[in-house]
Symmetry: C2
Subunit: 199 residues, 2 copies
């Protein structure tokens, strides 16, 4: 690991690892007109709900590729409180704000707006989010996201990585009572975290 | 946890947790005629390769529902050595044998051939595979598999659970040098296992 002895392993104290800065604004019943307009465009069957397929049809990266099934399902599942597989306009606004925060980070490093970033840029992005990851770990994330060429991470894979890192970091932190970057964990608890945070 | 002091937490010594008994037969270049027939049926575009969509079109549970996207992608990914998103007939035969082993376990408990089993049957199935899980953990798995009604596990979700449990158990076991059901693990190693074993 790249951080020194006694260093907070999750990054800067109070840093943005749990959620991007500014995400999850205080809940109220007013949905912004911008989110409402987006919702109306994405909700193609006018059901008043958006499912993963509708979200996928609306989201493309800089090269015109649609976001992956997995990324869209993951994003829906994060705000789908009744496990219906769909989100309403209020849940959508939260997703919209949440995703925009990650996108701001991503765009900073995707300078040609291709919708893809490379390993060194992923390192910088996680650093900006307050993480200090080793080069080996960043390399592992790139290979996981791009199993064929091992070179670059698309915007939807970036969102998936951020959500995974966030979820597992939160689960780890709850168990790291000494805040020293090491936990002791039993078999069933380990399985529960690993399976529970998967999507 | 339900196992006693000093008990092997993964179940019976030499039990079938790493893979169902009889799975992964010795590799040879001869593909059984049964697997070849199946492959020809599933490979609808005659490309000589099967992708997750073709697999999904071929697989239904007892109620006529197709297997989930995730289950089919997971199954392909397990034998897709070149990360192409497809498997050839040799890889397919391994998948075919592998899945058949889990199905034998599942069918033992799915007595009305509905393609679904309930919580008590899932407990028995894992016990047969050599695991000793607490009722709380089994309940968690059922809720994870059936987020809406919390009642039953479909055959494809069962396969996903078995693969997840198997992968994470293997990762845990490698780190459990004392074989006492508890490990000490650092932050990046934890993230690597959790994200690496996800699909």
């Amino acid at each position: 690991m790249s951080y020194g002895q006694g260093y907070n392993p999750y990054g800067q104290p109070g840093g943005g690892y749990a959620a991007p800065p500014g995400a999850f604004p205080p809940q109220n019943s007013q949905v912004s007109s911008q989110a409402q307009q987006w919702f109306a465009m994405v909700d193609r069957d006018r059901s008043g709900k958006i499912n993963a397929s509708e979200l996928q049809a609306a989201l493309v990266n800089g090269r015109g590729d649609h976001f992956s099934d997995n990324a869209c399902k993951l994003m829906i599942s994060m705000f789908d409180n009744d496990a219906s597989g769909t989100i309403d306009v209020y849940e959508f606004e939260k997703l919209y704000n949440y995703i925009n925060q990650w996108l701001q980070v991503f765009k900073t490093y995707d300078q040609d707006s291709s919708g893809h970033i490379e390993e060194s840029e992923l390192t910088q992005a996680f650093t900006q989010m307050g993480f200090r990851f080793s080069p080996e770990f960043i390399n592992f994330l790139v290979k996981k996201s791009d199993p064929q060429t091992h070179k670059e991470v698309s915007v939807d894979q970036f969102i998936v990585l951020c959500v995974q890192v966030q979820r597992f970091t939160e689960a780890f932190r709850q168990r790291d009572t000494q805040q020293n970057g090491t936990i002791t964990i039993g078999f069933e608890d380990f399985l529960t975290v690993a399976i529970g945070c998967s999507y």
